[in-house]
Structure formats: C-alpha cells, structure tokens
Subunit: 174 residues, 2 copies
C-alpha cells in the first residue's frame, strides 16, 4: 500500500506558516532545498488544503506540482483554476483510502493543518517528515489544527543541514 | 555574563506538557535521561513558574533541584513550601538581569511557557535546548504561551538518542 507522508517545514515552536499563510523566516536557500526538490520524486500524488493551494495561487502558480496528480480539498471553491488540479469537496477520507490502495508512488500531503488533522484522525497518515527550521514564529498555523489524540511516533531518520534546518522523519504508530 | 537556557522536553507538535501539566508520553528512560541529569551540573540557579513547581509539589517534591539556587515566580503563592526555594512575585526581569550579571554557572529555565514567553520578550533567553520527543500531544501547554515576536535561532548542536529523543541546541539571535 502506498504511504501518505505529511511533509512540511515547521518552526521550533510548531508552526507551518504565519497566520496569513506566508512563510517568511524559513531558510529558503541551501542543500535542504535541493534535497527537498529531489525528494519529491518519491511522490506521484499530492494532497493539499484550499488555503495551501491558494498560497501558490496568489503568486500566479495554478499548477504547483506538475509531475503529480494534484488534489485540492475545498468546500468553497467552485471550479479548479487549472486542468491539472482536481477539486474535491467531500468524502475526503474515502478518496484518500482509495488512493492509498492503488499502485503507484507515495502520496504527498503538503498541507495544511486542517487537512492533516482530519487525515491523522482517520489514521491515514503513515509518516511525518519535518523540515524543522531554526526560527520561532510565535503565532501562526500550527502543525495540526484543533485537538488530535495523543499519538506515538517512531523517529526513523534525520539529516542536519548547514542552514540549521533539520530534516526529521517519523513513522506514525497507529 | 551567565547564560539563561530554556531547557525543556517538547513534542513534535510543540507542547511541553498536557493541559493538566502532566507529561505522559515523553520517553522516561534511556540515555537521554542520564545525559540530562549530568547536564544539570552546568547550572547553579534554576527559574520556574508556579505551575511547573506545583507539578513536583503534587508529587511531594518541595526541593526539586537541591544543588541549585531555586526561584519560583508566582503572584498567588504566599509562602514558599521549602527553605531552599525562593518565591518571587514581581520585578522578575530585573531579578533575572541581576542574576545574569553575577558570576557563577549558567541559569536553568525549566518552565513554564508563561515565564519563558515573558523572558524571551525581554531578550533574556540566550539558548533554547529542546528534548524533542517522538510524540504528538495534540493539545497542551505550548513551548511559549501567547504571541511572541518572530525570532531567528542558530542551531548549534544535536544529539540523537535510541529512544528517538533528539537533543537540539539553539542560540537565540537577539
């Protein structure tokens, strides 16, 4: 079965973005970026929440991951701005279960927190990969929104970059 | 000048304790614990908030760090339960500035979040040392309470334990 990996940059105080969904403060250059871009080759499907997708959209990016099948989850968007992006408005967990049972590469959950919270609650997230960045935001969008249940993780791999970013791999123990 | 180090266990989602100040879920055995106990020798003063102190008090521990000068910050406690523990009710930042200017070993800030938030706001925290533990709490006491300003950190050292705990050292860039 394909794995679903929640793979995000995160501050030391647990935020994946500022309140307005911008990400100033995360180191934007260095080996951790080239490694990240290379690592995307393990995925052929990406899942994202509407606000995560809209962050790119505001910059004019309608097709953020052209090498992957892209799903955006939203109850409010009426139409996909790009033929490569499929809008999904309901039965999200059901779709994700179906995708996980198909053959293919792993599935990339790139954000946001609401979607991650829902999918963790459904025991659908297999791994959490953090690009833990040497910064405190003080406020913003947390790694998970709302209350999730206590969940044990297994630390499986780490890489330390000169930028101070730590790439941390965890398996979710369901 | 002596350094003030905020040195706490923290979950992957940024919590230092559950809402009720208990800490079930942090690995409680292993080399990371013996290293932690050994590392306390770098300190001869410890600062803590009332609720952090009361966590030990409920277990009958009135003198948690007998080898250190202990300060508990509280506006509500009337009397210290132990002659080795000094209660401080106001001018906290002023006291901490004075302590930092005295000669001696470094100063240990063991929690909680309110005290850490206030001291970070006063630019008094020099280092953040996280025992990053492989668990999600989902809710609880965050690393910092309330909104702090965005703060850049420098990653200075790491150690990875078999328990999956990562000991992460950061210098606060003021």
């Amino acid at each position: 079965m394909r794995k679903l990996k929640y793979y995000v940059a995160c501050t030391i105080d647990g935020f994946i973005a500022h309140e307005d969904h911008t990400i100033d403060g995360f180191p934007s250059e260095g080996e951790h970026i080239t490694d990240y871009l290379e690592s995307l080759k393990q995925f052929d499907v990406v899942l994202m929440g509407r606000r995560t997708y809209e962050f790119g959209l505001k910059l004019g990016v309608t097709n953020p991951y052209p090498a992957m099948k892209q799903y955006v989850f939203s109850r409010t968007m009426k139409e996909s701005p790009d033929e490569n992006v499929e809008l999904v408005s309901d039965n999200i967990a059901e779709l994700v279960r179906k995708l996980k049972n198909e053959t293919g590469k792993d599935i990339y959950l790139c954000g946001g927190a609401d979607l991650a919270t829902m999918l963790l609650g459904e025991n659908l997230i297999d791994e959490i990969i953090l690009k833990l960045s040497p910064v405190l935001f003080g406020s913003g969008i947390p790694l998970f929104s709302g209350v999730i249940k206590q969940t044990a993780l297994e630390h499986t791999d780490s890489k330390i970059y000169a930028s101070g970013v730590l790439l941390l791999h965890y398996r979710v123990k369901n």
